[in-house]
């Protein structure tokens, strides 16, 4: 092979490598640009859910709407990097307070008083100074579904 040909091939590889590097850098940048504030998104979704629930009358229908949003909340947390620890704890407290509320198959509006009672009980505290707004918000959500 001629020297010039070898030189061209080397130059070609180097250019290709540079292009690949640049494009991967751009991808990272675009990811950074699009980086989701999970906590904010989580709070927005809960607020939207609250509005939807207030506009709906049937408890069964409300529960369906709730289930869809609840699944989404779990998914955005799973698909995105971990947030600040305080925010992660807050989101988990909210979701785990709702553990006593059953899924689609078992939900029965007649059992609402029991759901409210169990939800209140799930994250109760004996320490008056230990306030958790996310727990209160989750309890209010169950009350909204059951209204």
């Amino acid at each position: 092979m001629h020297r010039k040909q070898i030189f061209r091939i080397v130059i070609g590889f180097m250019s290709l490598f540079a292009v690949i590097q640049q494009s991967s850098g751009n991808t990272k940048l675009s990811k950074n640009e699009k980086k989701l504030d999970v906590y904010l998104e989580f709070q927005n979704k809960v607020t939207q859910l609250e509005v939807k629930l207030k506009n709906e009358k049937s408890s069964l229908q409300k529960h369906k709407i709730f289930l869809k949003s609840f699944k989404e909340l779990g998914k955005i947390r799973k698909d995105n990097p971990r947030q600040k620890e305080e925010q992660e704890i807050e989101m988990s407290l909210f979701m785990d307070t709702l553990l006593p509320l059953p899924g689609a198959k078992e939900f029965n509006p007649k059992s609402c008083p029991e759901y409210i009672k169990n939800t209140k009980s799930a994250m109760k505290t004996y320490n008056k100074e230990e306030k958790e707004p996310s727990v209160e918000r989750a309890i209010a959500l169950v009350q909204l579904i059951c209204q």
């Binding site: 704890i89 307070t97 505290t125």
Partner: protein, 479 residues
Amino acid sequence: MGSKQVQFWIFASFCFLSFVSFGWYQLVSNSKITSNHIDLSSTAYEQVIEKLEALTFNLGSMVPKDDLTCNCKMDNKLNLLSFEDPEKCGPERNYLQDELKTFKQIDTNGYFSGSRDYSETAHFLPRKCVLFIMRKFWKDRALSPAEKREADIEFNRTASPEAAREVKDESAYKQDPGLFAKCDKGQNATPERYGHKACVSEDYVNLVYNSLIDVSECLEIPPKFITPKLSNESGLHVNAYGIVNDGGIGQFTVQALLDVAQNFDRFKRKIKASSNSACQRLLAIPGALPNSGKDILSTDAERCHVIATPPNPLRSLIYYGVFYHSLKLNASTAFARSSDDKNPEFESVNQLIQQAGISGFDQEKIKQMLFVMSYNSGPGRPVVFFKEWLKYRIQTLNKFPINKNDFNMNYWPERAQMTAKPGEARLSLMKKNGVPLSLAEYLFAYKNSLYIPAVKAQANMLDKGLGVETCTENKFLEL
């Protein structure tokens, strides 16, 4: 000497010898019948001395004294615990004397207000644990700013220059909080906050100890498990009254009393049906067990319900037993939760433990830590915090695998860290240089909780003062 005199002396000597021989025979034969152990005394003389000492001891007091030794200094006595003398406590600390007398009157058999053979229950929990805790708790007297300033001046008189305290203006000192209550107006009254600890007399200690032992036995609560926790909360004082109106020996709040009320009837039926002598004794004290859960008064204004004596400390301890069992069940259920129908992304404690590579760790001990925390935070929240800590630690497993030190509860933060706001501000003061937080540090940094380390510190104090595992369980709150 006449023959009559000789006869008299022969007869007297015979009588004396007969008496001595009979006494000797009695002592030897008694030792054979009553002693089950091998007598290691080398000579008959030593045996007689021992038997005579034993006889004198038994005649001197019907109840053998139990061990009151300690690794401590109390009332200027080294290595020996002592009760307080009501005559020396003064009127401001003798306010429970009348109530103790009333308890004696209703406790006609002296089950709780009398003394027992404390050597019999020492294996369960020695009485000295209760005495030690009651004496050590908080302060005997709540000091005013002027008294505190005076105490600093007094301290500096004998202290080295390095140890000397800064004597500030009186306005810079705070009045000690009143952490005790008086319930002179009865069981349904509102407690009156009071600053001074009741005199820790032998009668008072016996009442608390007898009640604690019988409730533990009847309701099957391990006394060495609950002792460090009670030491942290009320110091076993019947009238302890916390800042947020948590009252009595069990430091009950509204929510805790509501929980007790919910479960009370089931436990009362069990106590009534039991043939256990400890349960029988509980039933003998009027008011110790209300008629039903509906009779349990839970509001802050009615807190004397769990403070006034009689029937407390018995009632408060029975409630504590009910609370212990219901809380343990709820905490275990929260820990074992494996799925959520509504959320496919739900991760259980067990899954996270596997991911964190700590399935070989003693999970009962981990559960025990969260159970202790749930006394304060409720049964659900500690599990959420623990799961979040596991998720946080899983991120750095490659560089920092989890080890047993991550569960070390011998932790106490510095003053500056305590004053910082929980979260990033507090974390920045913890100077971890990239090393992940232990469970105790995480709970403090983000949830402002030091409850498990506080109970662990009480256990350490008891181990140090009275001997390892004398008042605590083996490896309490540690892996």
